[in-house]
Amino acid sequence: MRIAIILLFAAVFAIAQSPTGDAKHGKELFLSYSCYSCHSFDGHGGAGARLVPMPLNQAAFIAFVRNAGRMPSYSSKVLPDAQLADIYAYIKTLPASRDAKSIPLIQQLLKED
C-alpha cells in the first residue's frame, strides 16, 4: 500500500525526470553504506527486501528511502538525491536470479513430502 502511494506520488509529480545516476559510484556507496548487509551483495534480499528486479522507478526509489518504514530512513543530508540516483543506477545493473524452474534442486525440494 505504502509503495503504491509512493509510486502514484512519483508519477503525478513527474519526479522521474531525475538525472541518470552513476552506477560505478553507486556500487561504492552500496558497499560503503552496507546496503548489502540487509539486501545481500547482489540485491537478492536477506534480512531486508529483494531489490532485483527493482520494482520502483528512480523517483519512487528515492521517495521510499527518505521515508522507508521498517528500513532505516536516509535523509537528503546523509544521502543526497544524486547519490541515491547513483545507488539506484547500480541496483539496475544487478542481474535477476535464475528462475526456480531452472534449478533442479529447488524442483526436487518442491516434490518432497
Partner: protein, 641 residues
Amino acid sequence: MAKSKRTSVDRRGFLKGAAAGAATLVAKPQLAEAQQAGTQSVEQTAQARGANGSAPAPTQVALARETGGRPAESTRVIEHPGSDYMVDVLKTLDIEYLAANPGSTYESLHESLINYGDNKMPEFLTACHEESAVAMAHGYAKIEGKPMMALIHGDIGLQHASMAIYNAYVDRVPIYMVVGNHSDGARRAPGVQSLHSAQDLGALVRDYTKWDDEPLSLGHFAESAVRAYKIAMTPPSGPVLIVCNAEIQGDPIQGATPRIPKLTLTTPPAGDSAAVREAAKLLINAERPQIIAQRMARTPEGMTLLVELAELLQAPVNSQERMNFPTRHPLAGTGWVGYQPDVTLNLEVGDILPQARIDRTRGAKTIQITAVSVSHKSNIQDFGHYADIDLDIGADAQATLPALIEEIKKELTPDRKRAFEERGAKLAEAHKKAWDDQILQAQYGWDSSPISLARLTGELWPLIKNDDWSLVSPQGFVGNWPTRLWKFDKHYQYIGGQGAGGMGYGAPAAVGAALANRKHGRLSVNIQTDGDMNYAPGVLWTAAHHRIPLLTIMHNNRGYHQEVMFVEEQATLHNRGADRAHIGTKLWDPNIDYAKMAQAYGMHGEGPITDPNDLVPALKRGIEIVKKGEPAMIDVVTQPR
C-alpha cells in the same frame, strides 16, 4: 585474563634450584606428613607450593626422576582421599561425561576421577575455556535429555563459565556443575589459592543458577550431590552447582564412608484438573485456535503428545526454540493468510506479552501453561513483561498435555469434530502453499558469490537426508533456512537457540550435542556463525582430541552482521551517514582463515569456498570425514543473512 594455575618455570633453572635445595628438603619434614598431622603452617604450605602459589618444590621422588638418583620412598601417601568417595557418589548419577579446564581447586577430585574412577562415568573431556565446558554440557543435555557435568576451577573458572550458565538457565536446560574452592582460610596458601577462592562461591552465579550448595563434609556432599541432580532435572530444568572444598577432596576418608542416598527424580508438576478442564473447553469452542510451543518438548514424548493434541483440535502449531513439532506436518505453521486466532494456547513460552497483547486487542483468549510461573527469581529479568492472560496454569506443559488431551476427547461433540476436520483441511492446504512458497524463495541469489544461505542449506540437504542427522546449531542467524527447506520430524534433529542470546554458545554447544549424538551414530551438522566461533575456538581442539564427529560449516559473513544493521539504523536515526557502520562490527582486514584455524586445532579444514559450484564437493569431503568419526570444518563465505 590472568589465570595462573601454576607459574611456568624454566625446566633447567627449576632443576638447578631444586638440586641445590635437596639437602634442605630431605632434612625438613615433608609437607604431606605435616598435612596429615594437621600441623603445617600457612608459611610452610606456601613454601612447599611455591611462594606465589606456583609449582611446589619437588619431592624426593620427583627429584630422583629428574636427576637419576634413587631416593628413599616418599612417606606422603593418602590412599583414600575424600575425592575417591566423591567419585563413588558421582557414579551413581549416571553422568556420562564431564568437561573441564584444569585447575588446582579440584586437583584431588581430578586425579580421583581419572584413576580411582577409571575415567569412566563420567569420562573427562578437556575444555579450553570454562564457558566452553558449560556450553558443551548445554548442547549435550538438549540431545540427551539429562545433565553432563562441568568441573570448574574456583572463582576464576566460575566467572569464565558465567555466561554459559546464564544461557542454560534461561533455556531451562539441566547442567551439573562442580566447582573447586579452597574454603579453609587457615589451610590455603597465600597467592593464587586465596585469589581463586571465595567465601560464598555460588553467589557469583546464584541469580541464574537453579540451586547451589557448599557441602561441609563427605556425607553432606553425597546428599547435596544427589539433591542437585534431582533439582536440575525437575521442570523447569536448570543448571545446579556444588561447591567442592579442596580440603574435603584431599583429606583422607576417616572411618566408614557415608551412605550414598538413592536418587529418585521428582515427577514434573502437572496442571490442576479444574484449570485443565477449562482450557479444554476454551479450545474446543474456539473457531480458530492456535498453539505456540517454545521450550515445551523436553523429550521425544513431548513431540508425540503435541502432535496428538494438534490433530485432535486440528489447530496450527507454531513451534519455536525446540523440536516440538514436525516441520512438514500439515498443521505446522500459523494458519492460513488472515487466520486470526480466537484462543491461543502457549506452551512453555518465554515472554508471553507480545502474543497476549495481540489476543487482547481482538478479544481473543490467552492460555498459558508453564512451570516457570512457579519458579521465578528476582534479579534477572528473563520472566519478561507481565502479561494479561485469561488462564495461567503453573505446571510443566509436557506433563500436562496427557490430561488436556483426555479432557478434550471427553468433551468433544460430533459437531465440533466435523468443524475441526473442515478447519484442518484448510490448514493443510495453507501449510502446503506456505511450504512451497518458502522453497521458491531459495531461488533468489542462488548463483551468488558470496554464497546465499539458502543455497548453502539447500545443497546440504540431499547430502544428509538419508542419514540419521541432527542440526546442532541455532537457525536465527542463518535465516531459518534449515526449517524452511529440510524435513524435521525427530526430537534430536534440532537443539534450538542460546537461551539468553549470549554469543559464544554455538560452537561449544554443537560439540556437546555432537558428543551426545556420537553413541547413536548420528551425523551432527553445525552451521556456525563466524562471530560466535571466535569467542572460544579452542573447542575445535576439544572436538578433535576427543574424536567427536561433527561437520561444522562456517557461515562466514565476516562480521557481527546483526550489529552492522543496528549501527546503520542508529546512524540514520541520528541523521548521520551509515558509511562507518563497519567500525566495530566487521571481521575483515585481515579475513579470518577458518580452514587454517581448523587445521591448527587438528581437524580437517577447507575453504574459503566462495563459488557455489565448489560447495557440494567440499561438503561431501567433510561428511565423509565426519562419518569416519572425526570433526571437519568447511569455511563458506556467505551473504550476510
